[in-house]
Assembly symmetry: C2
Homo-oligomer: 338 residues x 2
């Protein structure tokens, strides 16, 4: 079995975004949302371009290639994954009151709340429209892909509600957290891989295995996102280290620490979460507590277990460069290297 202990290529995600698949996607994205776009399309372009890491669409193409399909046929559907992702970010930013994303004002700050709600809706519709543009794969694969995307979208919504229920609740438990991660992050990666496989021409069993790969990978990603703020307090990470704490979100290491803690430490964890702010010494104390109780280590183990299960989803594929990339993405997900 492939192990997860091998080295991760440095800058893997940036490499992928610059690969041939990445280039195909960037080209199609610019064609779909040109600079000349006006009105609603201009707002959608603002939300979409410049693209982020582009991980979801690149993975859809990589999966299509791994099952023997022609990635070029899958480009519109692959971009649909990014549309849906950005749609949820646009609505999430309203819900969370976030004002900055990727160094720019969020859509509702730049254009207004009403416009941001409508733009998120528009991107959802655009995602479904883009799937139907992948006609080369046949109507049946398209209809199945639509069902997969609709289910993933519904799961994302359920995950959003579950995440809100978890705020300030340290007693929620690891199980509820993992269900939230499966819905909120796993579901879209599941759809990315399932749809990449269906439109790439995979048989049902293979497509289902790849869907499982995507879901497990997505949960590992979510855990990685929780862990990265504890990994290297001096390093640069994508989000402010105190973001989850300030929002009262009990992430996996916090829930694991709480489960294992005595009364005094539970009290300390509750206070840290209820404070809704953290200066540098407070955050360092919080970080040390999670490391000292072994919660961070146990979290790494959990991510590793999801990673191992993800790898198993690739077992039925012929060895290829695409399969190597899918394996490397799992390796990346279970470390906190940049």
């Amino acid at each position: 079995m492939t192990t997860l202990t091998g080295p991760v290529p440095p800058g893997l995600l940036n490499e992928l975004s610059r690969s041939r698949s990445g280039e195909l996607l960037h080209h199609e994205l610019s064609a779909r949302w040109p600079e000349t776009a006006d009105s609603l399309d201009a707002i959608a372009r603002y939300a979409m371009v410049p693209a982020g890491k582009f991980l979801r669409p690149v993975m859809a193409l990589t999966v299509a290639e791994a099952v023997g399909g022609n990635p070029e046929d899958v480009v519109p559907a692959a971009l649909a994954m990014e549309y849906l992702h950005v749609a949820t970010l646009t609505h999430d930013d309203i819900i969370d009151g976030d004002t900055v994303r990727r160094g720019r004002p969020t859509v509702h700050v730049a254009y207004g709340m009403s416009e941001a709600i409508v733009t998120g809706d528009y991107l959802i519709f655009s995602a479904f429209a883009a799937i139907t543009a992948s006609r080369a794969s046949g109507s049946r694969a398209v209809a199945e892909s639509i069902a997969v995307l609709a289910e993933a979208g519904s799961d994302l919504c359920r995950g959003q509600i579950l995440e809100a229920e978890l705020v300030d609740d340290l007693t929620a438990g690891v199980g509820k957290y993992l269900e939230m991660a499966r819905l909120k992050t796993g579901a879209l990666f599941r759809a990315v891989c399932h749809i990449g496989a269906l439109l790439g021409g995979a048989e049902e069993t293979q497509a289902a295995a790849l869907a499982g790969y995507g879901e497990d990978l997505g949960v590992a990603f979510q855990i990685r996102d929780d862990l990265i703020v504890f990994a290297d307090p001096a390093g640069t990470v994508d989000k402010p280290t105190t973001s989850d704490l300030v929002n009262g979100r009990p992430t996996l290491p916090v829930l694991m620490a709480y489960e294992a803690a005595d009364v005094a430490r539970r009290q300390a964890l509750s206070s840290a979460l209820a404070r809704r702010s953290a200066n540098a010494p407070e955050f360092e104390e919080f970080r040390r507590a999670l490391i000292d109780t072994g919660a961070v280590a146990r979290c790494h183990e959990t991510a590793g277990a999801y990673g191992q299960r993800a790898i198993q989803g690739l077992a039925g594929l012929e060895p290829s460069g695409s399969v190597d990339v899918l394996t490397e993405i799992v390796r990346w997900a279970v470390t906190t290297e940049p």
Copy 2:
């Protein structure tokens, strides 16, 4: 050619909601969103049940029957039209700050703004999922229906942005208004009829003609909605008579009056719209001005022209009870009878 001057059956829309098609739909709606629903499904149920006039899903079944299809196969897809409609209402109510709908608190008032945004998204995903459940019609018809629904959804979003641009703008002109009505109201009726036809087994030409019927009917509906507040100030209508005025929305009669008015009357219309309120005498004065300039009459003529065009979209169908119903709906749309 069928004329539009015949009598409209009294309470037509209520009759349709209680017809066999209506019963099928109500049954399926209760099964899909049962009383036992919890969390996100409970909010979605609150938004959906009890259903309104149910016009869109009933029309989808009626069209499927009119082209020789089995309405029972189309029930999930017909309900998808209602999901999408309610999704847009849920988001619109946030945008407009409306607190009451059908006599109950709107979703964002009852559950919170974040929950209302997520519920609207969830209903959009549920709509696409429901279309894929109409597999009896074959994958090709399903894939085409998805493309039609996605396009209609995108048009709704464009209509929403265009409507916002029209606020307070009396110089926008009738053309821009009619484009807004086509996008905001025509698009969903177009999809209702197009999808009903596709899933009912219609050929492409017939489906396109029925799509045209739906779009023209939708525009007539929007004009009817604008006119009804001027028809019978003492009568009971669904919305407050001053709603458009208070929101600074120049409806079709207002734009028509403005186009034909001299400087003094233009000034009066601008003031009425800018005031953002209207007591009974002010509204009566406004109403009289629109009637006296002939704007209300011209508006009726425009609705009638759309109605005539809608009727032409039915020309290729075999005479049947379903076609009679589709014709009666047009008659209803071009009058302001209750």
